[in-house]
């Protein structure tokens, strides 16, 4: 198709190739490179979080185990939750936003390339800051939602909670900045003819998720700042002795926390909405409905937060309101499931790795969704909350949903990014092992929970009937680990293989497949004009003739300087005022350097 010409074009163009070397990565403002950085960092933290999970499972393999001390165990599940949610899934998704979205909308880059680099570096600073707590007296250990007043300086005297506050403040700010960038990019940089109702679903869900991020993170930021002030300056926000209400933290956290779980799942929904049509060779069934249901899920997501608080004692009025609103979300989510199945229906399904994982998502997420509805019933949840039943629910939606969706995306776009296909046999083995492993790990947790096993317990006594379930979970976790090792093997091997994928190996329909694999620095030699929803399938693309003028932005190290300054300022809160002031000065200098640096 158009791609061959595009590829041929890029040869002759100035600025069509990347500079090499470490410095070029550090100063890069190219969305594709930043996407790769995001993804690799996310993958790294996925491994870290996975390792933490393995230790958790090791300790819980048998009753009254003593592999880990209580203190270490409590740090591990806290950091496991935080790492997976904020430093594995979100950056891996951000990697895909960065790499794919500009390609899908026919843009040369995001709207603010340097801001984009800044988001990445700030995220990395936040992640490293939080994880460094392991080496400075212990990680936070109050759970990923860190309920007050256990987090007060009285009950969490070490620095763990300070790292929590500061690390997550940086990561949160980074996410907000990145999301703002994507909102502008998607609204403003679409190729001619690419109307909103022609956007690929992944781009749509990126847009929706970006809105969720800019709206959900601020309440959490405020909550952490209250906590910081309570801990450092003696305010009373969560201090019962001064009239403060620890439950306020729960509200602020979950006003963020519930939308956050949709921040985690919607990118995966976007991916499978692109993958399923490709591998069924049929356009997405009910496109507008799938789009609107995504928006509706996000919107409703702001009105259900107290379903995490049914046992707090908010009273029957609040509980029934939140219970009912929560159940409503099943409707738009179900609609998505049904439209995906209808897309396959009547298609010609190729079971390549991306499709396997997409089907896996539909199958597994449904289970997690249904246990979600069981939670949504407030009285029923009084028996389930804070037990392993919740742990089962959250892993079915997060592992069976998000992780499966992300792997679908990894297999789908790996050839676009590298020009190479991932090995199909290892991929298939990875899929089946992962499916078996995760079910063996997380399905028994439903029973453990209903039979009375609380979560976040570093040990459990024999005799309550939990032994079998836990052993099964641990074995399952081992299988998951094996599956992941297969993936890593495949990843490394494929990187070394020959680049034979071509522009559009899956014969997909969206714009990112119209350019070469990997794409040239400027993505498209000529901005394509789009005339249909599936441009590469039904003659929906026109490439205007002639040369086009464009400038790619210069590399810049200012984003890194500003992020570093902010990291220093944050660390200063722990180390001392001079460091904080110095950091602030560096950041400010960075901002001025940045503002007056020529872009092109």
């Amino acid at each position: 198709m158009a791609t061959a010409e595009a590829a041929a074009h890029s040869e002759g163009k100035a600025g069509g190739t990347y500079a090499g070397g470490l410095w070029s990565w550090i100063t890069t403002v190219d969305h594709k490179r930043i996407g790769i950085l995001y993804f690799l960092s996310g993958l790294f933290f996925f491994l870290v979080g996975g390792l933490e999970a393995m230790l958790i499972r090791l300790q819980l393999a048998v009753p009254e185990n003593t592999v880990l001390s209580a203190e270490v165990f409590n740090q591990l599940f806290t950091m496991h939750g935080l790492t997976m949610v904020l430093f594995a899934v979100m950056p891996m998704a951000a990697g895909a936003f960065n790499y794919i979205v500009p390609l899908q909308i026919g843009a040369r880059d995001v709207a603010f390339p340097r801001l984009n680099a800044f988001s990445y570096w700030l995220f990395l600073c936040g992640a490293l800051l939080l994880n460094s707590s392991f080496f400075f007296g212990g990680a936070p250990s109050a759970g990923w939602f860190a309920y007050a007043n256990l987090t007060s300086s009285q009950f969490s005297p070490g620095h763990g909670m300070d790292f929590y506050v500061l690390g997550l403040a940086l990561a949160g700010a980074a996410s907000i900045v990145a999301a703002l960038n994507f909102i502008v990019t998607i609204i403003n940089l679409r190729a001619p003819g690419l109307t909103f109702m022609r956007l690929p679903l992944f781009t749509w869900m990126t847009l929706v998720v970006s809105f969720l991020i800019i709206l959900a993170f601020p309440p959490f930021t405020i909550g952490t700042i209250f906590l910081l002030f309570d801990r450092m300056f003696g305010t009373l926000f969560f201090e019962p002795s001064g009239g403060g209400d620890p439950v306020l933290w729960q509200h602020l956290f979950w006003i963020f926390g519930h939308p956050e779980v949709y921040i985690l799942i919607l990118p995966a929904f976007g991916i499978v909405s692109d993958v399923i049509p490709t591998f069924s060779r049929k356009p997405l069934f009910g496109y507008p409905v799938v789009v609107y249901s995504g928006i509706l899920i996000a919107f409703l997501g702001f009105g259900v937060w107290a379903h995490h608080m049914f046992s707090v004692g908010l009273g029957p009025i609040a509980n029934s309101a939140f219970s009912g609103l929560t159940m409503l979300i099943a409707i738009p989510t179900g609609v998505k499931m049904f439209n995906w199945i209808a897309t396959m229906w009547g298609g010609s399904i190729r079971f390549r790795a991306p499709m396997l994982f997409s089907i896996g998502l539909v199958a597994m997420f449904t289970i997690g969704g249904l246990s979600g509805v069981m939670h949504a019933s407030a009285p029923a949840d009084l028996q389930q909350t804070d037990t392993y039943f919740v742990v089962a629910h959250l892993h079915y939606v997060l592992f069976g949903g998000t992780i499966f969706g992300l792997f679908a995306g990894i297999y789908y776009w790996f050839p676009k990014v590298t020009g190479r296909l991932l090995g199909e046999r290892l991929a298939t083995a990875h899929f089946w092992l992962l499916l078996i492993g995760m079910n063996l790990t997380f399905f028994p947790m439903h029973f453990a929970g209903l039979h009375g096993m609380p979560r976040r317990t570093f040990t459990y006594p024999a005799g309550l009937g939990f032994e079998g379930y836990n052993l099964a979970s641990t074995v399952g976790a081992g299988i998951t680990l094996l599956a992941m090792l297969l993936f890593l093997l495949n990843f490394v091997r494929s990187l070394r293989s020959e680049a034979t994928a071509g522009a559009n190996p899956w014969e997909a329909s969206t714009l990112e497949w119209a350019t070469s694999s990997p794409p040239p620095v400027h993505n498209f030699d000529v901005t394509p004009e789009v005339t249909s929803r599936d441009p590469l399938w039904y003659d929906g693309i026109a490439l205007p003739a002639g040369e086009e003028e464009f400038h790619m932005p210069n590399p810049s190290y200012w984003p890194l300087v500003v992020a570093g300054g902010i990291l220093m300022a944050a660390a200063g809160a722990l180390v001392g005022l001079p460091v904080a002031l110095l950091g602030a000065a560096v950041a400010l200098a960075g901002i001025y350097g940045w503002s007056f640096e020529p872009i092109h």
Partner: protein, 346 residues
């Protein structure tokens, strides 16, 4: 990263005792799952259970439909050589309406029973026959019966068939009160007073546990519920109302009297514990007036035997990491003496 304290093989041995204790409870009345929410023994727990079972079956229906359709689709429409190119269907309005309405209808069947149960159990009880004030501490439970003037710890005694009306509050951080066999959870939130009630309908001993992460030893913050026949409960009340000295004078075992001296003297125990009728009036730890009569100690973690008591007193952190009882530096012999004294406090 462990704070320099030696790793504890003892900890494991101790828990074994608790395990045995729990197993015996299990054998007595719970089948294999003595702490299961699926084996309800009270009005509230039964109501929640039947609500849950209803939802469960609706979920099964959805599960079968979705997974069934998925499996049919991937089998029927898998790629076959020579098959024609699929027709590009873009949607179907009636179908969309159908699969929007169907879940909505199912949700009505889930939502209405939910609301009915919610409004029944989430309001004050119709009768309030046994009132208990529960105070959560890191990591043990204090039970006060304001009408009866009783204070005890970690083991809650109630008469069968009477509505138990609990007021829940916390002395430090958030805990959550949970006896799965008789009721759902309710949090103990500092600065708030919560309510929970249930009417147990069968005699038995049921394990329960703190269900909100509350710090290092959250996992070891268990408790017991003794649902007793009316007469047994009254006998227990009478026993609890007595002051400790009366009981204690009965025995003049040398071990006991040595232990008593240590308890009130060099042991330093009275700075934290109360024994009514004596000078011991500490409030940081559980009331020990009738500790000898409890089935378990240290919040349901250890069976109440001489050996266990002695190991607890000798090294409480070995059993329960991070717990707030101080290691008073007693040696084995002394610990046994104090333990013997405590066991005499029935």
């Amino acid at each position: 990263m462990t704070d320099g304290r030696p790793r504890v093989p003892g900890h494991r041995r101790m828990l074994m005792f608790a395990a045995l204790a729990i197993a015996s409870v299990a054998a007595a009345c719970g089948g294999d799952f003595p702490q299961s929410s699926l084996r309800p023994q009270s009005d509230v727990a039964r109501e929640i259970d039947s609500l849950f079972r209803g939802i469960f079956w609706w979920a099964m229906v959805v599960f079968v439909v979705v997974e069934g359709a998925l499996i049919v689709a991937i089998i029927r429409f898998r790629e076959r050589p020579g098959a024609p190119k699929p027709r590009p269907v873009h949607g179907h309005t009636l179908l969309e309406i159908g699969w929007t309405l169907a879940p909505a209808i199912i949700l009505i069947f889930i939502g209405v029973p939910t609301m009915i149960t919610l409004w029944r159990i989430d309001r004050p009880p119709e009768r309030s026959e046994v009132r208990v004030e529960v105070v959560g501490h890191q990591w043990w439970w204090e039970f006060n019966y304001p009408d009866l003037g009783i204070t005890t710890a970690n083991e809650l005694h109630v008469p069968v068939g009477k509505t138990v009306d609990l007021r829940l509050r916390s002395a430090d951080v958030i805990h959550s009160f949970w006896f799965p066999r008789v009721a759902g959870k309710r949090d103990l939130v500092p600065g708030r007073v919560n309510q929970l009630w249930f009417t147990p309908d069968s005699v038995g001993v049921y394990p329960g546990q703190c269900a909100e992460f509350c710090g290092t030893s959250h996992a070891l913050m268990a408790m017991r519920l003794h649902v007793e026949a009316e007469e047994d409960f009254e006998r227990w009340v009478e026993q609890q109302l007595r002051e400790a000295v009366e009981v204690e004078e009965a025995g003049d075992d040398p071990l006991v009297s040595a232990g008593r001296d240590l308890f009130f003297g060099a042991g330093g125990c009275i700075s934290c514990h109360q024994i009514r009728g004596t000078v011991a009036a500490g409030i940081l730890g559980p009331d020990l007036t009738h500790v000898g009569g409890r089935g378990t100690i240290a919040a349901g973690v250890l069976e109440n035997t001489l050996d266990n008591l002695a190991s607890w007193i000798k090294d409480p952190h070995d059993v329960k990491p991070g717990n707030l009882m101080l290691d008073m530096g007693l040696d084995d012999e002394q610990a046994r003496q104090v333990a013997a004294y405590l066991l005499s406090l029935e």
